[in-house]
Symmetry: C3
Subunit: 347 residues, 3 copies
């Protein structure tokens, strides 16, 4: 990107003050910006960031009183103006031409929809079905009898084991593994004997799954991710979990086997959920929570073991005062001993 | 799957009550079941789940008193009956024909055993050895001088760096990386200088390793996973760790370098173990424990920093009462002041 | 490796006592060693390990008083001697010949430097640039318009999405995913609408990134990893993070979006950092910390929520005494009641 501040003021229909020839070479948030970047102030509450930002140009509200050494562009809505700028200057998104790359290996019994794009070195196994306009990225593996919906975007090096099913408009980022065997063993004389994992993974419509996330196949029956649920990177979903619709699951979350998660649940980063629990609708599991009990609908839990938000805060506040509390108890003991001495002396 | 309840009752030799024509389209646990599914009640203690299950058909013990709106099949052992049903109706497991796919790249000095199956786009480097009947999945990489045993199942997109050795009957799920460099640096003038990692990874017999798990090569010598140990998804095992036989290591566990783990150890999800510790035989590390000290044989630890189970429970119980304890101390202070006033008044 | 103790004593110019014909088959740390291994004692403080080591040969300081059943080699500096031995006996490092493997797919508009090595089944997309002497491992994917510097080592099955840029001498281990979409959604009527992620990932010089780590592309602008920073396995770095120079980030760390990390910061294993925080220079985040506030320069924090090291230790020590504290309070109550009775009796 190589634009002058004057060009950008024109794009966003803003009023420029400062150097119109200032060259802008990148876009960034106001905190992350480096010299040459343009940034914006979404709200007056970020005003203090102006003092420390290294951005060369800032888009701000037209009425904002601000002292800034660089160039300002004043507009009605800084967020909208910045979004418009992003749209204008962002590079064209990469597109994948329909067709099968000659290096891909597609089984004869696989069925491919209209306008699918099968990228280099992808492998499509026997009996697999790929929906219309879906892209299968370079080096990705679509196992036997998988069913991939329409308009899906499977990035490179994704791995679908046999019989995985995806709805429509599913996005799978690089390194996703769906349908690996569940972690199920029977202990026989101190050795771990594999329990066959003959189920499958079922992904709803409009699901997005982040890089290197793993969802295991069911022991029998399905492991399901519901419609519209979004999963971040490096998440583990155990066998036979049923995750509802429109959930958010952040990075490095671990969900053990047979957990039921309702709809509209939010699971923050690094949360762990023990097996066979039920996490009900619209609950929020805060970061690093270690969930060992069912979570009722609408509740907010945190801590390890996780407890309701209010209980955690109450106990945590008391805990911070604990060293002072111990000192106070010591003082009480002394006062009590003193009093006892006085009584003994007077009686 | 498309079977009537009548068919299934015949398969499991059970007694049907309800609708014999009920169509069964899937198998599921009693909590995860949806309409059309058949499920089972392994024990009367799950009886309450019958009220909320959405299964259409349930296999229960022949003598169980149960009120259920759907169709029941009564048998002597519901778990055995369900296992038999799973076996009958599960789709045929995927098999991999012996032979080398023409798209695979196999170095001339690699030695392949009898009836190996080298899947599309796999790469076998110079000097690698692959044992009889082993399957190397699509796109997997077997580095220079690796030795892979017999009857191993290497799923697609697995990555073995040079000189990794696997025993027999090893299962590696998609995205496993064995033998990446250990995380070893020397600090020189505030910069991190790489310490060469010239060792290797050694995996015993009957080991199973989950999707996207990484085991680093030794700095020198080996990083070892012992016979029969099972590792879940997204686990990190640092350089020069020696993990014993028949251990269980659950998802998202992080083990730093040079940790010794004994035999029959259980490490639950998201546990972290600091470097250079010894975790002795048959110990249990509970979920999310942060282990900072050696763990004696047979002990159970949890918390961060991890402590023996009993200590954790004792402290944790006291902690939950902390807000009330603070109130009680405040009361004691007041009572003491009151008493002091009384004494001053009387003396 | 097959060497006698005599050979090794000659290599390290040491004085042998014990069996010169002892066959040495491996190198290992003194704790991890098994029979046949040679190990060393870096310092007298590890003397107790000699009692339990299973090594057959030990390199020790020439003046160390030690009782050991195996063979000893005495030298001036055991660590230097062992390093020399490692260098001598370690197998030759794997090298990759310059050239393009015929199975690789390289777009016509990609520009490759001198002496690059493009390994089997690698894919280099349109407009990508690869610097001199860089190795692109088997099955790795270099997306559209990526710029990879000189002397980089990209191991197999690495995944660079479009427009990722790498400096020189970067090492990426197997399964790394750079430039997957950031986890950004807008909530509209309870559904999660994707926020376009049109930025990119920028990696400085001399960066090393461990197996299966994921760094997301910026929403707009860059996600940056600074020069000389080393990242371990299975780490998540969210969109628009700016990580400084010469940092250490250990395994399974999760960093949410828009976090600024200074220079020379150390982030231990399984730490989680909430979004939009600033972690200043030379701070240390201890293992499993849950960071919810900015971290000042030079500070050490731990716990969840993370607090300064000293505060954590003070509170943690008090916490361990909590059960005894409760007992003491109970005692105080009784003493107080007793005293009250005495006063009531005497007055």
């Amino acid at each position: 990107m190589q634009r002058t501040a004057r060009d950008i003021a024109r794009i966003v229909a803003g009023e420029l003050s400062g150097n119109p020839e200032q060259l802008v070479t990148g876009l960034a948030g106001v905190r992350e910006a480096t010299p040459g970047d343009i940034s914006f102030l979404a709200s007056p509450k970020y005003l203090s960031a102006v003092k420390t930002t290294r951005a060369s140009v800032l888009i701000v509200h037209k009425d904002l009183a601000v002292s800034f050494g660089g160039t300002l562009i004043r507009v009605d809505s800084p967020a909208a103006a910045f979004a418009k700028l992003v749209e204008q200057v962002a590079p064209q998104p990469v597109t994948y031409k329909p067709g099968i790359d000659p290096s891909a290996v597609v089984a004869s019994s696989a069925r491919l929809g209209k306008s699918v794009s099968i990228q280099p070195h992808a492998v499509i196994e026997e009996g697999a079905v790929v929906g219309d306009r879906t892209v299968i990225g370079a080096g990705s593996y679509i196992g036997h009898e998988c069913r991939v919906g329409a308009d899906c975007l499977i990035y490179p090096l994704v791995n679908l084991r046999e019989r995985t099913t995806l709805g429509d408009r599913v996005i799978l980022h690089g390194g996703v593994v769906l349908g690996a065997d569940g972690f199920g063993f029977e202990s026989v004389d101190g050795k771990h004997k594999k329990v066959p994992q003959v189920g499958y993974v079922e992904i709803g419509d409009d699901v997005e799954i982040g890089a290197n996330t793993a969802v295991d196949r069911g022991r029998f029956g399905r492991t399901r991710i519901g419609n519209g649920t979004k999963i971040d990177n490096l998440v583990q979903v155990g066998h036979n979990c049923v995750i509802g619709d429109h959930c958010i699951i952040c990075g490095l979350v671990g969900i053990a086997g047979s957990v039921l998660v309702g709809n509209h649940v939010t699971i923050a980063g690094q949360v762990g959920i023990a097996g066979h629990l039920t996490i009900s609708d619209k609950s929020i599991l805060m970061a690093q929570a270690g969930v060992t009990k069912d979570v009722p609908a609408g509740s907010i839990v945190l801590g390890a073991p996780a407890v309701p938000h209010k209980d955690f805060k109450r106990v945590h506040a008391a805990l911070q005062r604990l060293p002072e509390t111990l000192a106070k108890i010591h003082e009480l003991e002394q006062q009590l001993a003193e009093l006892r001495d006085r009584i003994s002396a007077t009686s």
